[in-house]
Chain length 328, copies 2
DNA sequence: AACATTAACGCAAACGTTTGCGAAAGCTTC
DNA sequence: GAAGCTTTCGCAAACGTTTGCGTTAATGTT
């Protein structure tokens, strides 16, 4: 159906090996026939078959990107970062949503290996990923650092971020601070909670387990969790949310309850998603360089692909506290 | 390196054709050897090579998704829709951002064809796409309807949406209504503007070209455009923004200018992105069923892939006006 | 008992490239 | 003008599957 290398070889009465080489500007081919071949290729609207090429070269110029949920506003920017830098080098990227499910994550890894991607960028759910880190395929982890110690990763220091957020609230006079987080098993959630606990501890504040609640990394969860807490008449003057989506839900609950932010309750989030900076929201949060993380992860993956033996260093980015109006 | 079908055959002392058939549960193979083969495959950690398979079957179980910008909060949900329904059928999806550039769009289409995707879902920029609609590859257009009349599409009625939005403002007593849109060449922008004009016309309101401004489908553009308009001392009591991102920028400009929404200026957007429904924002807008659009487009594409001759009907979804607090 | 049928499997081609190696020219050099 | 070198190209194998067809042995039919 589609025109192949053989078709243009036949037309030009040369071997298809020559066509192949001419199209890729091999030095073995004379300028003369190169031009002839390229001209014919254009005329016949030849499109190289990457599948056939991949079979022999064992390179597909393709990478896989596994995210929990592209719908979480944190991820589109990192996805954009990886897609753009991958594309610059001629790579395509498979988008996979693990939906915060370990089984789906594993299924996607297997699928990507079957599809012979050259590498994988993975934002893992939990420690489960440890089990398949022995793969022969280059991989870089994004957003977690303890999961696969032997693999490369690019992360922000979640614990420090949690610490910064909580410390900020404490310095503003709060001592009854809630932590509203996502799935308990998720590494980043744990780390942020650790940071929270550390800040309380360092400031001599007693840990109150009733102030710590977890559900999902979604706005609805923040809404429900906070609503429930308010109805319980919880004694808190501030809340540190595990991510900005949760914070938005928290804000909504407080709003609906008729309380004022930050006067009655202060709130700080995590991620610095685009809506956090809207003047109407103005959410104090911990910023992650999302796009940059995507770029860095991809660059790192590409060097690993091109040079499998090369031992590159992982990257830990430092989180930044961005103070806006929900906390002060 | 990786274990192949031949390795299994060698170990079991049978032909690799038999292994291939056994693994795919061909009826020609006895239950006995099927089990033996599958057992060996599992033991040897065999992973089928989708590249090799694709070369002979001419099916890659892969589709391409070309979006203008995954960073626009409208798209992650449609992306999720296509990814999920594609995955259910065993398909993977390539994510491509055209960045609202025709050249990138074209380059991606060529790339996807080279990679032998089984089909493409395209959210096109402009009419340029007309040029490559003769491809031999199944394609469904998302978000535009006039671009490739002979291709299948799933869209909402942009013109009607623009009409609904403008009419809503008019019914609330506004007659000086700005239109702040995205790229002028983009079909959906045009259509929405047409709807705007139609509503004005039907209500006997004179069209004022000075009230119509276009830039990009980004918040910054809305911000800049509105800021400029306010500084010019524009006489408008309402604005219809081409999408919600623009509307957010408009809101910001009004906010910074010290005016009140909707008392001083009413605004309505388009898309109903997640942040539009936040209580602090509460943006009146035209809703599109984003996730559903992704699902429908993918389903349509899959039937075209499985049955190329099948002539399926395109889908035009009706937009819905969602009245919130920025307009009333 | 002879033949036809069926079940189960092997052979080998094919998919569209890339690539190591060999071969045929053309060109130098003495 | 023979030897050697370069340039330019063709041959054929290889990548890991799928699949049409042929083959064998077992079973069924008369």
């Amino acid at each position: 159906m589609a025109v192949t290398i053989k078709d243009i070889a036949k037309k030009l009465n040369i071997s298809y090996a020559t066509v192949s080489r001419a199209l890729r500007d091999s030095p073995e081919i004379s300028q003369d026939t190169k031009e002839k071949v390229k001209k014919a290729a254009k005329e016949m609207n030849y499109q190289p078959n990457a599948i056939a090429r991949g079979l022999v070269t064992k390179k597909t110029k393709t990478i896989g990107l596994i995210l929990p949920d592209i719908t979480n506003p944190f991820y589109p920017q990192v996805a954009r970062g990886v897609e753009e830098t991958a594309n610059q080098e001629g790579y395509s990227v498979f988008l996979c949503n693990s939906n915060y499910e370990n089984e789906k994550e594993k299924a996607y890894i297997d699928l990507l290996i079957s599809k012979k991607v050259d590498g994988i960028i993975l934002a893992p759910i939990g420690e489960e990923s440890l089990k398949w880190n022995h793969r022969e395929i280059p991989i870089v982890i994004i957003g977690r650092k303890n999961v696969c110690p032997q693999e490369n990763f690019v992360v922000i220091d979640d614990k420090k971020g949690g610490y910064l957020a909580t410390e900020h609230l404490i310095k503003n006079g709060h001592s009854k601070i809630m932590f509203i987080g996502g799935k308990e098993k998720v590494e980043s959630n744990k780390e942020r909670l650790e940071g929270y606990k550390l800040a309380l501890n360092k400031n001599g504040i007693q840990l109150d387990a009733n102030l710590i609640r977890n559900d999902h990394f979604k706005r609805e969860s923040g809404h429900i969790l906070m609503k429930k807490a308010l109805q319980e008449g919880i004694a808190a003057t501030a809340v540190f949310a595990g991510n900005d989506l949760l914070a938005l839900g928290v804000l909504q609950a407080i709003y609906e309850y008729g309380l004022k932010v930050p006067q009655d309750i202060a709130v700080v989030g995590f991620d610095n998603i685009p809506t956090a900076e809207l003047p109407e929201i103005s959410l104090t949060t911990i910023a992650q360089p999302k796009y940059k993380m995507g770029v860095l992860a991809t660059q790192m993956l590409l060097v690993k692909i091109k040079n499998p033996t090369h031992r590159c260093e992982s990257i830990i980015l430092t989180p930044e506290l961005i103070v806006r109006k929900t906390s002060i």
